[in-house]
Symmetry: C2
């Protein structure tokens, strides 16, 4: 059904709608957050400030894995399990590497057939083609909006091949890596460092002839994870197997996630971690803006390529080149 | 023997001395690089530019490991092996986390008794107490100076518990992680991500009753490393054991390092990687300066703490706080 352009509702209308759990208000507020229009952004900021105050008890769960690992089916099956357990589930997809994996995320809504039509679920793919910083900011603010609208479990999906995983990891409470058993999967381009961020590794497609291989992979990963230093949450990452398509192993995964939240809620880690994430986002955003202003400046556009060539050819040290570039940037600012 | 303050030599004198392999000139040039005096820095820049042009064929090797792993003994034994093979060896220590591990690095020179007194070796601890960016910059420029002075193997030592490993990894050709076998070592605080950066893991202290445990650790790490994605160098990281104190296994480590360099020299990776590192350092240094100017500004000093508290208390979103802080910073600049 084609959308008609309607006037943007006022922040107060949106806040009221969101607090009533109205998905149209929620969707429109997220659209405002995603807009580049300064007027929209200023309205969005007012909605965000209001929603920040509600602070309901929620679980933010990041889910990553390379294309083909079965993320959509996994989220569909896990999401329905959560809804049956009485929860309301929002799924946000973050994907700045749009060309590589557009299909895998933009297709989600149509592939998650039960979840997308369920009144207790809300699914929202990210706007693609944006900078990582922009997409990350918008996803983070979308989490706040979804929580204020009464979704108590937020699943943030990412594709595991780009740079978005670190961003997602820094906005969730629990980070789950979905993998496949079998030769070559380790080499299928999962980004370095992701295994270390995972609170759980789930080997999907443990069905039929694949079960034995999945169990073998489970043993190998469990052993490998013990070689990593402990996490600040004191949580020992778990390795589980499942078949999302056959709905086996999903209940165990949900049990594990509950166990995690019980543990981090009790010792105060969850609250402290979220505060630290907020602080980190403030610092990160300050850096992002400083950098994007500098790297978008006239001085830089005109001079950078020339300096890069000189630096690559060892004609000038990186530090000397930086010094001269920055001196010209300061002149431009004045 | 106490030093007398002598006038700083001219850049031309230093360049001449370095090119002749004069260690006094080399040491004084590094001191210039480490100075905060603008006049010294401008002289240092001229020396660096001249040294950059020499571009001899060298090997830059990073060595990391937590305190107690036997780094000094390992570098002493490896360094003497390299000298016997006809090389000239410079050892640079980088350690911004001065309080934690001051002893381990500042004590190096006295503990590496054979190496430190050998005419073909040059050992230089980093100035401690500086920012990471500063120490990293200075170490990187010290590498250039040592190479121009005829040292064809540069060992860059770091302690494996701080943030300096990423910096060291980005300035060397080969990155070696030194570990101990046996219970608990995995948990002794080696930083997350270091295992993924390693081109080799060497289990030290494989001597006496420890040999079997070291071999066991070797098997476990080899298996775990196969779970990682391949490196851009296409080098499959190796796991070896050694006893630095008994000088066993060191020749095999040197053979492995030679094998690595043969492979990356032949396919052009080494040259391309060094060019990419230079480019990366230019970009990184630009960022570092932008950040240090902002975070050192009056606006930030006055306002940051207040905003952090508001952000941690969920009173304002990190993005809104950043926007307001940056607006005031721009006013300060004008």
């Amino acid at each position: 059904m084609p959308h008609q352009r309607t006037p943007v509702p006022s922040p107060d209308e949106l806040i009221l709608g969101i607090n009533q759990g109205n998905t149209t208000s929620l969707a429109r507020a997220i659209t405002l957050v995603e807009s580049d229009n300064p007027e929209h952004l200023s309205k969005a900021a007012r909605v965000i400030e209001a929603c920040l105050k509600s602070r309901p008890e929620t679980m933010r769960i990041g889910i990553t894995g390379v294309p083909g690992v079965g993320k959509s089916t996994f989220i569909e099956t896990l999401g329905m399990t959560l809804i049956e357990a009485g929860h309301r589930v929002a799924v946000l997809a973050i994907d700045p590497t749009s060309t590589l994996s557009k299909g895998s995320i933009l297709g989600d809504k149509t592939r998650m057939t039960s979840l997308s039509s369920h009144p207790k679920a809300f699914i929202r793919p990210s706007a693609s083609g944006e900078s990582l910083g922009g997409v990350a900011r918008k996803t983070r603010e979308a989490i706040i909006l979804c929580e204020a609208a009464g979704y108590d479990i937020i699943l943030v999906e990412t594709v595991g091949v780009g740079q978005s995983e670190t961003a997602v990891h820094s906005m969730v409470d629990f980070f789950l890596l979905l993998k496949l058993a079998g030769a070559g999967d380790e080499l299928q381009g999962i980004k370095r460092g992701i295994i270390e961020m995972a609170d759980a590794i789930v080997i999907n497609k443990a069905e039929g002839a694949n079960v034995a291989r999945a169990k073998q992979a489970q043993t190998e990963f469990s052993r490998a994870l013990h070689l990593y230093p402990p996490k600040s949450s004191e949580w020992q990452p778990k390795v589980l197997t499942c078949s999302a398509i056959e709905n086996s192993g999903i209940a165990e995964i949900w049990d594990m996630i509950k166990q995690y939240f019980l543990s981090v809620q009790k010792d105060g880690y969850l609250e402290a971690h979220r505060s630290a994430q907020n602080r980190q986002w403030l610092m990160q955003h300050l850096e992002d803006v400083l950098k994007s202003e500098f790297f978008g400046s006239e001085t830089l556009k005109k001079q950078l390529d020339g300096w890069v060539i000189k630096v690559e050819n060892h004609e000038v040290s990186p530090f000397k080149a930086a010094e001269l570039l920055l001196a010209d940037y300061r002149k431009e600012l004045k």
